[in-house]
């Protein structure tokens, strides 16, 4: 491929040529779950407002028929996002004390948190009999 790039010095690594690793994935997932929680919280707040004004019927379709499964799936995803962000947020608070920066342990904790967030999600939804 022809390129105008003539600078012989090594290029700064870019996201597309960067080997994925656990701590990178967990960092990106922290932002992604934060954004998911944002919209999840907005949705729940709007639902509380609709309840207060007796207008919850306008979103009743979300809990009926096949749509109920889409909503349930989204809420299970939101439960995972909250669980992940909570666990990884705790890790951020520990980092603020200057602890938990060893590479091997960091990789391990990244994977443990990604898997660990499944536990509260599963416990809650099994309890609900979903």
């Amino acid at each position: 491929m022809a390129s105008d790039w003539s600078d012989p010095r090594p290029m700064s690594p870019h996201l597309q040529v960067w080997r994925w690793h656990a701590t990178m994935a967990s960092s990106i997932l922290h932002r992604a779950t934060g954004i998911a929680n944002y919209f999840g919280a907005v949705a729940i707040a709007i639902w509380v407002i609709l309840l207060a004004f007796g207008a919850e019927g306008s979103v009743a379709f979300l809990f009926e028929g096949p749509m109920a499964w889409v909503t349930r799936f989204a809420l299970i995803g939101l439960t995972y996002a909250i669980s992940y962000h909570w666990l990884n947020g705790l890790r951020h608070l520990v980092w603020d004390f200057g602890k938990g920066y060893d590479p091997k342990g960091s990789n391990l904790r990244s994977i443990l948190i990604m898997i660990g967030a499944v536990i509260p999600t599963a416990l809650l939804w099994l309890n609900l009999g979903a």
């Binding site: 407002i49 909250i82 909570w86």
Partner: protein, 125 residues
């Protein structure tokens, strides 16, 4: 024309806003609040019988449900506002788009906080 302004006076106000450490600390304070509040709120809401409207109304109208929801809502929206501000400032560089999104984020989180708090009080009182 002679310019009497000192070099320092010319650059003052052009740099960083100087609010970074306050923003940093506020994000941690709301995080610690949510460390305690979020699990309690999620568990209580999940067990309340929601999304059944009557069960959800009873939950938000109960003193414990209303208080936990108000606390989680307040800490949550403050945390959401500062977190989303961070994301916008990191990824959106066009000044106009950035300003619009920063304003939208502030209006949405503050507005939603007031309206939802009003809705909760209406349900609870």
């Amino acid at each position: 024309m002679t310019d009497y302004r000192t070099p320092a006076a010319k650059v003052r106000g052009l740099g960083a806003s100087g609010h970074a450490s306050k923003h940093w600390m506020a994000h941690r304070v709301t995080a610690i609040a949510l460390f305690f509040l979020a699990p309690v709120f999620v568990y209580m809401l999940a067990m309340s019988g929601a999304p059944d409207p009557a069960a959800a109304r009873a939950f938000f109208a109960s003193p414990m449900g209303a208080i936990i929801t108000l606390l989680t809502l307040t800490a949550g929206l403050a945390h959401m506002r500062s977190g989303m501000l961070e994301v916008i400032e990191d990824y959106i560089h066009k000044p106009f788009t950035k300003t619009v999104l920063v304003l939208a984020n502030s209006f949405l989180t503050i507005g939603l906080w007031l309206v939802t708090a009003f809705a909760l009080l209406k349900l609870a009182l």
